[in-house]
Symmetry: C3
């Protein structure tokens, strides 16, 4: 009897698509899916044929959060689970050299919303939504949600959506800057793949180091930020791709990137 994997991975035209595949559970995390997703992210990060990574869910949900019904290994605390199982997934995305795009096909609740928000860009289907259910059962937001929401919405709105557990649909998310694009319900993957291919046409070093520099300047003064950027610009400026980029620009042709 074949085992059905809880996470599927496919790479085509430089774009890797990772699909959470427990549709009957709205892709709520259990220990197997956590392990398989982490594995898929490590592989995508290392895959030389992959320039951009999409994360999406099969079926009606993107990820309904943690599966409350799952059996937790005896003795493991929630703190250990967050730090040892979820954190490597989220940091594997946030500190990847490649851009990640979340294609949110349905409910993204709790740690499922944190998964989407760890990505660099988010495309959300028009009828999908973010949802924080924590305060209904006495918990707090986790997986970085309190940081993502405070930063993007400001403290007043962030506290409101976290403690009142309001659903935030795609149009509101776009208006508030939580996501980049709203897609029609029937072409989420097509439009996300089109965005991924747009990214892929850009210089890989720009994709990688723009992501890195944003992380490094966060919380710094302007003076420090300028110097941090300057240090990284030295790397890109000495690359073969920068030479090619300038040459292609002058010759009015498309650049051919090597990623170095």
């Amino acid at each position: 009897m074949p085992t059905i994997s809880s996470v599927l991975t496919e790479t085509s035209a430089g774009v890797t698509t990772i699909t959470l595949n427990r549709p009957d559970n709205l892709n709520a995390f259990n220990v197997v899916q956590r392990a398989e997703l982490h594995d898929a992210i490590i592989k995508a990060n290392d895959d030389l044929d992959s320039a951009v990574v999409i994360i999406t869910g099969s079926g009606k949900g993107f990820c309904a959060g943690a599966d409350l019904a799952e059996k937790i290994p005896s003795g493991q605390t929630v703190e250990e689970r967050l730090n040892k199982e979820y954190k490597p997934i989220l940091i594997g995305i946030a500190e990847s050299q490649k851009p990640y795009i979340a294609a949110v096909n349905g409910v993204a609740a709790g740690i499922g919303a944190a998964l989407a928000m760890a990505c660099d860009l988010i495309v959300m289907q028009s009828n999908a939504y973010f949802y924080q259910a924590f305060s209904a059962v006495g918990l707090i937001p986790d997986g970085g949600l309190s940081l993502h929401l405070s930063q993007q919405l400001g403290p007043k709105k962030a506290y409101e959506v976290m403690v009142l557990g309001q659903k935030m649909y795609a149009d509101e998310c776009l208006r508030l800057g939580l996501i980049n694009r709203v897609s029609d319900a029937d072409n989420l993957l097509d439009s996300t793949t089109a965005l991924a291919l747009e990214l892929r046409a850009r210089a890989p070093l720009s994709l990688r180091y723009t992501k890195e520099v944003m992380r490094k300047v966060a919380g710094e003064t302007l003076a420090n930020a300028i110097s941090i950027e300057a240090g990284i610009q030295l790397i890109t400026n000495q690359s073969e791709d920068f030479k090619e980029g300038k040459k292609a620009f002058l010759e009015k042709r498309k650049a051919v990137w090597k990623g170095c």
Copy 2:
């Protein structure tokens, strides 16, 4: 002859309402009102019958700032006054274990705006406004205003409203995320109390620790934020209320919270 208190406090159905009560001065602060407000906040924070606190003003103003006509104790500098009299009020709100809602019934100017912004949520009457008068007399924003405004509006708009002293009415405040709700002029307290009761129906530990975690993750990296949240989730996860919350969810009934 009875003394009329400059701050009134009433607790009902788990909601404490603190009312600034110098309506003839638009509730501009003098030394007595500062002391009485601080006292009211300490008591509300300690009151076991109180889960949510509302701060509002009597009459036409919420709080017109510092009363420029007041006699300042000889030898006290403005720096001492801000650090010893205003700061404990503002931090008493911001670091309370309970959520505070400002019900802004009229002008909230200078330190009066800082008082509202120290709260977790803000409901503002449609004809009320924030106003920074500092640059008209050669002063700078205080009570945390420069932080609140920079964070929520970004530096360009924040500098503009602070140095030009523009009034910001309720609709603009809502659009910019400075407040959570706009109420009709005649039902501010009713709608704020309704919001307070919505909060009160949520798990007290969620209200408390969501507030705490937002403060603790501010300025942290995603990796640190995830671990800070995980440490606090350990507390809520081991609470009786989390057990009750899960049970009530499965039994499709309202949870009965103990706050532990």
Copy 3:
């Protein structure tokens, strides 16, 4: 044969206007223009007759970024150029005691956008735009752009505009809080000068220290921010201008500021 200066400066009615003057190159920076702009900023910062500074461009562009065609001194790296030539310009603006207003008359690309964003306020002509071309040639945003854009737009939108190189026109910039005002195409300098004169009517110490306090509270806790503001308020509170400001207010006349 007279040399045409690449940067023009004029002071009138307390307002200094600095104009980038290489219109044939859309004011793209070369080494001479960098040096002359730095010099103009130092002089404007020291000029006792100048209370507010405007930076604008002559011709159709504000500043098209770095001039890719320029001869770079042998041995100078891009890191050195950013730190030694651009950074003093940008920090000369950001840490000036005077408010700077960018009057963006056309394309502000790359480091040209960074120049505008280093100013305290921005007025943009309706057909002007910000543009990040870095990812088209394999580079990353510099001059503080990754910080400005992340802070104002949040990480999702910031990454998008930086890696996809989307043009952001005036109306979108206003909606997103990147700028303060949109002007008609034919009256940019008039409306910017009017704004400068509005600032000039305010107390100089308020303009100066509001700018300084915003920089100092950035990233601080509320408790620290309150104390930082209190320390600066002590200075303004003891100024002659504060006495004059209060007196003028009571006498219902315009204050006459001395700046001390």
